[in-house]
Symmetry: C2
Subunit: 165 residues, 2 copies
DNA sequence: AGGATTTATCTTGACGTCGAGATACTTTAG
DNA sequence: CTAAAGTATCTCGACGTCAAGATAAATCCT
């Protein structure tokens, strides 16, 4: 059965028969699937009144474990955004009562961002919902194939993980 | 060998042992790989003085085949952006001399965006370079595995392709 | 200890995108 | 033939991000 990428590549092969476009069989599908996943994620979070970027921050704090505190610096490493963006995000999450800023007791330059009870409840509910939706998306392929694809994707991602010391 | 996603999931399993996070073994890696690919793409295009969004528009026109014309409406369906964004993109590409706007002979509401010779040269060179880089990224897995992963990704993307009429 | 460097966070301005609305033209229905 | 509905594109204001720079505090080195 055909998909959009098959049509895309058919057009390229017609227009540029000199090029070997097979790499796009994999990588265009990765990009497109990721775009669709973003939309699906946004929808799943809408139910819980969360934006994707809000979930990203709250989830990083939730994963850190009790007492759910991280510095803005750690948060921006986890979420791959810049410092200006993180300041802005923490501002807005604070305004919504989902996190609070505490002075870092050990470093007066520093700040700790901590999940509030409301923040923890929100991220826990959203996470459960997200996984339910993701499970449905993956139902298109068998559990064995899911394990295979996970393994191959790990190989493809590894070089990038290594880059950042 | 471990990757960032393994560490991520380990944290979630510690904090939320009640949740089955295996869907993220696949889908988190898809999202992360897509993010890395975006960066790699930007770098590949930098050599040719193109931004990613510029390539997206030029490539859609190039794929359409001679005379390399598409309406803004078709372009925004191809590139998945909104109409305001496409107007802005075409404005800037016109200013750079990579495309030009022509009146649609068959519909006086309409406009046709056409690749200039410079635009065609730019997109052809960038495309060749992009594929070279992508081939290197995929060298981490065998050709047989590339075909396998392409097939599985097609299965995962299909439901989304069907959505839009 | 004292000065230089590094680290942590915040501030600011530019940029690209979105989405709602405006405008102009075309198609359909009566 | 005209009015209403539909379609194609552009305009504009709000938003989130980035990147460079500013500020403040900690650490390193002699």
């Amino acid at each position: 059965m055909e998909d959009e990428v098959d049509r895309l590549l058919e057009a390229w092969r017609r227009e540029r028969p000199d090029l070997d476009v097979t790499p796009m069989e994999v990588l265009s599908r990765v990009s497109r699937l990721a775009r669709h996943l973003d939309r699906a994620r946004s929808q799943a979070f809408e139910t819980h009144g969360l934006e994707s970027w809000e979930f990203d921050v709250l989830a990083a704090l939730r994963r850190a474990g009790s007492p759910y505190q991280l510095s803005p610096g750690k948060l921006l490493k986890e979420t791959l955004v810049t410092s200006g963006t993180m300041t802005n995000r923490v501002d807005r999450l604070t305004a919504r009562g989902l996190v609070e800023r505490l002075p870092d007791p050990g470093d007066r330059r520093g700040v700790l961002v901590q999940l509030t009870d409301a923040g923890r409840d929100a991220v826990d509910a959203a996470m459960a919902d997200l996984l339910t939706h993701e499970r449905q998306l993956l139902a298109a392929i068998s559990g064995r194939d899911q394990a295979r694809i996970a393994h191959l994707l790990r190989e493809l991602v590894r070089p990038f993980d290594l880059e950042k010391h």
